[in-house]
């Protein structure tokens, strides 16, 4: 143990004797660890954002559409018949297991106005009155429309959070009038902010009673049925029942394939899992590459170090140092070098993380990136760099240990 402490002291002394060289040598390691840490940090932030995004879909909701949202068999799906409102009614009647069954229809409007402000691309959603209840029921302002407004197809609108901010930057939207494609609506509520990264579209919408939607866009608009299972453990059961009922309602014969799709959050998760795998893979490769470069640098400098100190090794051996002592001494030096590199990388990455995260939050209100590097990653980086140190240092250290003391003492 004592000799380990001694070796560490000697390693630090050797490094401080030549600080410039030590720092330059660790450059490769610094870059490698910086990449590792930055990647880990960004990915965990993105993962968090992804989770937020997926959460919008609700982990226990089935979206029954003629299209498969992961893009499978899209050409074929285009030719399928829309799910109609009538079909929805039948499905709603027959389904027993779910918590909610809700019809939704969607279009994009190029013309949403309030006084002299115009929005050129807003999602218009026609839904039933219990839509917000399915989502959890909270409102940022005002209220959702009720059964009566739903049945009568009243001209009332609930604004998504971003739409409200864009159309009413300074005023309170409740009670005000807007026009969608020229048709007047009264704003009765504003949805809470639901999206983060790529899913901010969900805040850029206007919700209206489905009947009113039909009067704008026609009654044969494509319907997506939202089926909320009421718990992820019930998903399979509800899915099973839904497929059965849909097949009935769509009059499919026993051998025929489904002409609709059940879309879930899990399907997206699986898709993104592939993407994440690729990103991780590329990141890992980059890291591996820079570690390779870094460890070559370390190995190189360790060879130089051993050569420069050949005489010193001879002296130590004459005084009784065993081969393993010499080996340990130089190995520790290599590891300390690598740890120095990871320390530098840590400082750089921490500053960077804090700066980038603050800037993103200030300029874009994106808060998915944490300003701090998670301790587990720091630990991993330290362990990996120590490992690289041992790997890079072992050959030079071994060479040093095996020097013949007589020859070594003779050298200059």
């Amino acid at each position: 143990m004592d000799s380990l402490v001694e070796s560490i002291k000697m390693a630090i002394a050797a490094l401080t004797a030549n600080k410039m060289r030590a720092v330059l040598t660790t450059l490769g390691v610094v870059i490698g660890i910086t990449i590792v840490l930055a990647m880990g940090w960004a990915l965990s932030g993105l993962d968090a954002a992804l989770e937020d995004t997926l959460a919008i879909f609700g982990d226990d909701i089935l979206y029954v559409d003629k299209f498969d949202w992961t893009g499978r068999r899209w050409m074929e799906a285009r030719n399928r018949k829309n799910i109609t409102y009538d079909q929805f009614l039948k499905v709603e009647e027959r389904l027993q297991s779910p918590q909610y069954v809700i019809p939704t229809a969607r279009r994009t409007s190029l013309d949403v106005r309030h006084e002299n402000l115009q929005l050129t691309s807003t999602t218009i959603m026609g839904v039933s009155s219990d839509y917000n209840a399915m989502l959890g029921g909270s409102m940022a302002e005002g209220r959702f429309f009720n059964d009566m407004e739903d049945n009568s197809g009243a001209g009332v609108a609930v604004l998504g959070n971003a739409t409200a901010e864009n159309l009413f930057p300074s005023a309170d939207p409740i009670g005000k009038r807007i026009r969608v494609n020229g048709i007047p609506f009264t704003v009765i509520g504003v949805m809470p902010k639901r999206g983060t990264l790529g899913a901010d579209m969900v805040d850029n919408q206007i919700l209206m009673p489905l009947k009113k939607f039909f009067s704008l866009y026609g009654a044969s608009s494509r319907i997506v049925i939202n089926v909320k299972a009421g718990g992820t453990d019930r998903l399979d059961e509800v899915r099973y029942e839904t497929i059965g009922v849909m097949r009935q309602v769509r009059s499919l014969a026993p051998g025929q394939e489904d002409d609709f799709a059940i879309n879930t959050q899990q399907a997206f998760r699986d898709q993104t899992a592939q993407l994440r795998f690729i990103v991780y893979g590329v990141g890992l490769m980059l890291t591996g590459l820079s570690f390779l470069v870094g460890s070559i640098g370390i190995m190189n400098i360790m060879f130089v170090s051993v050569t420069e100190r050949t005489k010193e090794i001879g002296i130590r051996k004459a005084l009784g140092a065993t081969r393993s002592s010499i080996l340990l001494q130089f190995l520790v030096e290599a590891v300390v070098l690598c740890l120095l590199g990871s320390l530098i990388a840590l400082v750089i990455t921490s500053i960077g993380a804090y700066a980038v995260s603050s800037w993103l939050e200030r300029s874009y209100e994106l808060d998915f990136l944490s300003p701090f590097i998670p301790p587990s990653q720091i630990l991993l980086a330290i362990l990996v760099s120590a490992f690289v140190g041992v790997l890079a240092g072992i050959i030079p250290a071994y060479r040093g240990a095996r020097l013949d003391p007589v020859e070594a003492l003779r050298s200059e």
Binding site: D2, S3, G320, A321, R323
Partner: protein, 246 residues
Amino acid sequence: MAPSTDGTDDSLIELRGIGRSYNMGAEWIYALQDVSLKIHRNEYVAIMGPSGSGKSTLMNILGCLDTPSYGEYYFAGELVSAMDDSELAAIRNQQIGFVFQTFNLLPRSDALHNVELPLIYAGVSGAERKERAHEALAHVGLANRVTHRPNELSGGQRQRVAIARALVTRPAIILADEPTGNLDSRTGIEIMRLFEELWTQGNTIILVTHEEDIARHAARIIRVRDGNIESDEVNDARAMSEDVQH
């Protein structure tokens, strides 16, 4: 394997028919050929010879820095010539104290740390180490130079640090290779006086030199030439001067 005892003595060092050859490319160099000798405790021996005589090779073998090509080397009754590297390292650490011509101190460490070094390799704990190192430095008269680096010390002081380092593990022998070679004559005399003191205190001293004046300090002179022992005699000049003093 226990050495065969002649039953005649318990010599500290015994060489039997030691030889050392090197292969330098196409040539073979026979640095030592069939050397036999015995050295006892508390002897003061000088090994003398011109350069190329094999005296350095002999010293390296005595100091367990090098292994012989043939022959046997017994140190305190144990067959050293058959030992492996870590056993040899242990002997160098605890039984042998080296003093070199060029001092060979670690330049970046202070005197105390230099003297400590053998104790570190011996596994002695921190507090005891420091104490013994202080003691050794005091013994050679450098108690007030403990924190100085080699480049802050004169040649004579450096060699004294080296001697303190050689003494710190209380070794069986002190092996000095041209200890005054890099010193001026006055400092050289001081150092030889120090060796004299150490000998009086009971240490066994083996001096390797090519200078007659230095060799004459020893009680016994072994002359080496062309890889062989030319003569091995008591130093009459010294014996005589001792008589005169008494």
